[in-house]
Amino acid sequence: MDKFEAENYPDSNGHFGAYGGRYVAETLMPALLELEKAYYDITPDPAFQDEFHGLLHHYAGRPTPIFHAKRLSAHLQGASIYLKREDLAHTGAHKINNTLGQALLARWMRKKKVIAETGAGQHGVATATVAALFGMECNIFMGTEDIRRQAANVQRMKLLGAEVTPVESGTGTLKDAMNEAMRYWVGAVQDTFYVIGSVAGPHPYPAMVRDFQKVIGEEARGQISEEAGGMPDMLIACVGGGSNAMGLFFPFINDTVEMVGVEAAGKGVETGKHAATLGAGSVGVLHGSKSYVLQDENGQIQEAHSISAGLDYPGVGPEHSLLKDLERVRYVAINDSQALEAFQTLCTLEGIIPALESSHAVAQAMIEARRRPKGDVIVVNLSGRGDKDLGIVNQNPELGS
């Protein structure tokens, strides 16, 4: 295994090895170059960092706790599972870390309008929230299928003053929402800041979003040393685009800790109806960067499938693509029914209702914990809470009754 030298990535053109870059129309290039300059010049400024961390603390409620899930661990009769409680952050998911960072950067760049794509609606809510906080105009692009299955979040965005633009093209999911947000941005690029919600998209987004999310892993390092008396043996996080996973993994990347990224296997990878981009995809270009993507032999992007709207995406972050090739992170896939079972288990054993996205990570943790001795420590990123998913869960006859 080659050692991943974190400080070498991305290079000056935004490449993570063979991945990343800026595959966009020329109209957007000047805006991306401006954003890149702002990201390198402004975000390291101590005044920016102070304001960012002040907001993370006083507004988003950080640090989020790390919680020893004792009943779940005892039930599995193996390793100890600790949950990094991103579900307790303001707006109910890790997404707020990144939107606070980007909205602050937008303000430093004197942009008054923000747009965002959203799948599960968590990033949309987090963007609408910071737009309200900073008094910015906000337009959220969301697929019509996701609007249907994540109705509560649509209502929240509207309450927060955002406009929600329904996207009917394709399957009406996250990929289509991102297509439409990019189209809108091409026409409004001079005064609009595009808040991308994952470690995907053109440079500098994958690096920038990772940097705004790495607070998760930085906190977890200190907390787990205190709670468990050392480094964890394993980190587990779900991967759609991959922002919560990069946020947890990145501060541990030069340690010996094992890392597992969990993609959505949907109805099963063998059925073709899944979102296991790293597990079953091939290298291509989507939404401005090169990464693993789900595509056919002609380079047409295929539809992803997952019960979880936030993982229902046929691309993945370029840094994850590199980490897969370097075998620094092991990527696995959990199907819809495994995720639902983990959802149910966490509800009844720990009194925590996880998001269906995070339930994929919990499901993998249950598999890993059973295989490992009692002294081992597994940290799971509980990236969001599951209130938004009650409608989906209730439709599932085997559960919730």
Partner: protein, 265 residues
């Protein structure tokens, strides 16, 4: 042989500007599309931009999105578009530019694409989401310089960057008339004049202007300042309105004649 260069020289002699026609290959179906394209090339289109359909056309407005989706539903792939190019080349000497997003070319293989496109009779390629920063990975695999790489310049492109883009361009420069996706309205011809002038100060190449040009009056206004006028969504809209009309080919051909007349000074 350089069909693009010869064509621009020839038009200069005749005091005409180039009519650049974009159509998505294989819409409404491959055989009608072929008949229509050949008729367009024989009745006034000076440069053909042959669109390779893509599942996620993020630089295109709804009209070209739908034409792309129809072509994909007909099973059109990059390989089939190269096959169509060969057939069009048998019928006409009009320069052919393959217009694509990068992923279909990447999946086909960059080196193989160069070879096959050139053999089929294509003259250039325009890859809408491949800025100069990323283009080397494609052109480094090309076994020669037989294909022109058409470069885009946008209204947001600053002068310094324009110069940098122009240095690596060949064939002609494609100036995007306005910020926004293809087919959006609100053409500002005085702004186009300024951008064209700025671009002319950094390149000797002919300049073609596209995005949002739909009427013969628009064509005449843009032809007054540029070397070529690109029509895309307006053709696609007409195709969409006449999908099942047996007269589709003659309707499109008639429109080509109207646009072509507007390019004559």
């Amino acid at each position: 042989m350089n069909r693009l260069h010869d064509m621009f020289e020839n038009l200069k002699q005749k005091k005409e500007k180039a009519l650049v026609g974009f159509v998505t290959a294989g819409d409404p179906d491959i055989s009608v599309s072929l008949r229509m394209i050949i008729s367009m090339c024989k009745s006034g289109v000076d440069i053909l931009e042959l669109g390779i359909p893509f599942s996620d056309p993020t630089a295109d407005g709804p009209v070209i999105q739908r034409s792309s989706a129809r072509a994909l539903a007909n099973g059109v792939s990059l390989g089939k578009v190269i096959g169509m190019t060969k057939k069009i080349r048998e019928e006409t000497d009009v320069p052919i530019i393959l217009f694509s997003y990068y992923n279909p070319i990447h999946a086909y293989g960059n080196a193989r694409f160069y070879q096959d496109a050139l053999e089929a009779g294509a003259d250039g390629v325009l890859v809408v989401d491949l800025p100069p920063e990323e283009a080397d990975e494609m052109t480094d695999t090309w076994a020669g310089d037989g294909l022109s790489l058409i470069r885009l310049v946008a209204p947001t492109t600053p002068g310094e960057r324009m110069k940098h883009i122009a240095e690596s361009a060949s064939g002609f420069m494609y100036l995007v008339s306005k910020t926004g996706v293809t087919g959006s309205d609100g053409l500002d011809t005085s702004e186009i004049g300024q951008h064209t002038e700025l671009l002319r100060s950094v390149t000797q190449l002919p300049i073609c202007v596209g995005f949002g040009i739909s009427t013969p009056e628009d064509v005449a206004a843009v032809a007054a300042v540029a070397d070529g006028v690109v029509i895309g969504s307006a053709f696609e809209r007409l195709i969409e309105d006449n999908l099942d009309n047996p007269d589709l080919v003659s309707i499109i051909t008639e429109r080509v004649c109207e646009y072509k007349a507007a390019t004559k000074l």
